[in-house]
């Protein structure tokens, strides 16, 4: 199937529509909440939470014996939350730094989850096949029920976000200050963290335990490049996330069913790469261009300063001097002299240059800041 064909089928084919809608919603909610994680410098928390969810899925299966998605996701939610609280407990109660706590919980829970998965695979239960889809995700297994659940959670998340917008924003920026204003920062904090865990759990079926954190971080990191406004950043992150979901699904469906999770993550990574290079304010490209411009301007100013030093020893500031006395050490080239002529700083006659009144005052004000 070609990508073109895919997009023509999206609106008519029920399965494709469901999957596309699902990955789009997932991308949007992850982008939104991922912005919070990135701004709180808790980027790795998402990774730890998603890995911590794995044993919950396995245990839920062992206990219930069914593969009902909702039941498994409740298991994931519970063990994800336990992991999160253990991380927070370790950070506040011990001397361990947060990266150590995150790393410990991540590998501990993931290891336990893998152990349970292999145990399940050894069981003579025909039902057991397919649990490993939670490792790398399988968007093709999304059904309408799953997508409805995602939509409901995203809706609730949006309402909470709008209600507590002011509280979220101030907590993200300055938690101590928020406390002195009388807000219960613990409540706000738990609310944000709970929704991040929820978004991660929702994404496990589609993107999988291993890659889930990229869904949170990539759209947010890309969005940060384009704006200096929190609201715009969150909307942009949601859009980037949704597009990553749709394009990822399209590419994976049209290319011999490439695994969807990794493709979505790679598409998100392209957004990040593009943003890092091409965003006007923070991108590498424009930074480099500004750097070159500055260097060129500085060279001109250096020459101008030199000319100024010569000119001011004369009664007539426009007294002509030989071009020969200028050299490359003062940033002089034929080209730069021409540029200075264009700026009306100097007049060039034959092999002689003379400073103009404009050039004189420009040089005089060169190093006096406004």
């Amino acid at each position: 199937m070609e990508i073109k064909e895919y997009f023509s089928l999206v609106f008519s084919d029920y399965t494709l529509r469901t999957i596309t809608l699902g990955t789009a919603i997932l991308g949007a909610i992850c982008g939104m909440l991922g912005s919070f994680a990135v701004l709180r410098k808790q980027s790795l928390l998402g990774d730890a939470i998603s890995h911590a969810a794995l044993p919950g899925i396995a245990l839920a299966f062992i206990i219930t014996g069914t593969k009902d998605t909702n039941l498994l996701l409740i298991g994931a939610l519970v063990s994800g939350l336990i992991g999160t609280f253990w991380i927070r407990g370790m950070i506040t109660k011990t001397h361990l730094k947060s990266d150590t706590a995150l790393g410990l919980i991540l590998s501990l829970f993931f290891g336990f989850g893998m152990l349970l998965l292999t145990y399940i695979q050894k069981q003579p239960n025909a039902n057991q096949a397919g649990l490993d889809k939670y490792l790398f995700g399988q968007a093709a297994t999304l059904i309408e029920k799953d997508v409805t659940l995602m939509a409901i959670v995203t809706g609730i998340c949006l309402v909470v976000l709008l209600l507590f917008w002011k509280e979220f924003k101030i907590l993200l920026f300055d938690a101590d200050y928020t406390k002195t204003l009388g807000f219960n920062t613990r409540f706000i904090d738990i609310l944000i963290t709970f929704f991040i865990v929820l978004a991660i759990v929702l994404g496990l079926q589609t993107v999988g335990v291993v890659l889930m954190s990229a869904m949170l971080l990539a759209p947010a990191a890309a969005a940060r490049q384009w704006t200096n406004k929190l609201s715009v950043m969150i909307v942009l992150a949601a859009i980037f996330g949704a597009f990553s979901g749709v394009f990822g699904t399209a590419i994976s469906a049209s290319q011999n069913n490439l695994s969807t999770g990794p493709v979505i993550v790679l598409v998100a990574a392209v957004f990040v790469l593009f943003s890092f290079i091409f965003s006007p304010g923070r991108g590498i490209l424009f930074k480099q261009i500004r750097f070159w411009q500055n260097r060129r301007d500085l060279k001109l100013q250096k020459t101008l300063q030199f000319m100024f030093d010569i000119a001011k020893t004369h009664e007539d500031i426009s007294h002509p001097h030989a071009i020969k006395i200028l050299n490359n050490f003062q940033g002089f080239t034929r080209g730069s002299l021409k540029k200075m002529e264009e700026k009306n700083w100097v007049e060039v006659k034959g092999q002689k240059w003379s400073l103009t009144q404009d050039g004189y005052s420009a040089a005089k004000n060169l190093y006096t800041q406004e």
Binding site: E167, F173, Y177, N228
Partner: protein, 244 residues
């Protein structure tokens, strides 16, 4: 007799068994401009944070105008250390100042025209109005400090706590800030400042607290800002050491 603005009783704070503040009793009368001085690690910032409930003390109580601090939060404004936040946060100077109104607004309610007007006035007062829409990372250190000050001013509090507002700012900003602090005092507000520069204490402040884990002394600058207390606090004879 002046009213007591702040009363601290038996305040003790410890990080991992090591006391950072030991049994602090402190009363601050209304309307003073007070410096808290002491060496690094003396617990100056910790004292402010413990009073404001940012850090949980292991013992002690704080009252503001004779009522527990938790009931009087709206009377208190705080200017944290400039380095305590990430200035790359996607927001503008005006937006940061508006945060000062959030406490009065309470949960969920959004700031409106009234809050915006008050915030613009506060920015004007600290000379930052031209920068109101500037992304905060593009402000200089002194400008960031002024924005923080404006955020506290907009709270329209009775008591101001400031954690090293003069750290890393140039002379112009320092003068601008101290003039605002003196104005606050004139308006009958109480201002408590963690301060590092001993030279300027007599010039800027009328009240001082010497702190080094324990409270060494507190009172009017003209009575207690002397060699004896400086030596007790810093462990060396400050003036002699400087002149060597």
């Amino acid at each position: 007799m002046k009213k007591i603005a702040i009363r601290v009783d038996d305040l003790t704070v410890a990080y991992n068994y090591k006391p950072v503040l030991w049994d602090i009793d402190l009363t601050v009368p209304e309307g003073v401009l007070m410096a808290i001085v002491g060496p690094n690690g003396a617990g100056k910032s910790t004292l402010i944070k413990a009073i404001l409930g940012i850090i949980d003390p292991i013992a002690g109580s704080v009252s503001i105008y004779d009522k527990p601090y938790s009931k009087q939060r709206k009377l208190v404004a705080y200017v944290p250390q400039k380095g305590s936040v990430d200035w790359d946060f996607p927001t503008t100077a005006l937006d940061v100042v508006m945060m000062g109104t959030y406490g009065q607004l309470g949960w969920i309610k959004r700031p409106g025209q009234k809050e915006k007007k008050a915030s613009l006035e506060a920015l004007e007062k600290v000379g930052m109005l031209p920068f109101k829409n500037r992304q905060i990372s593009q402000l200089s250190g002194g400008q960031q400090q002024r924005v923080f000050l404006a955020r506290a001013l907009v709270q329209n509090a009775s008591i101001y706590f400031m954690d090293e507002p003069f750290q890393g700012v140039d002379a112009t900003t320092e003068i601008a800030i101290i003039n605002i602090l003196k104005e606050l005092r004139k308006a009958g507000k109480t201002v408590i400042v963690v301060h590092h520069d001993l030279q300027t204490v007599p010039e800027y402040f009328d009240w001082v607290t010497f702190l080094n884990v324990k409270k060494i002394a507190t009172g009017p600058v003209k009575d207690i800002f002397n060699d004896d207390n400086l030596t007790k606090t810093y462990g060396i004879n400050y003036k002699v050491a400087v002149n060597q």
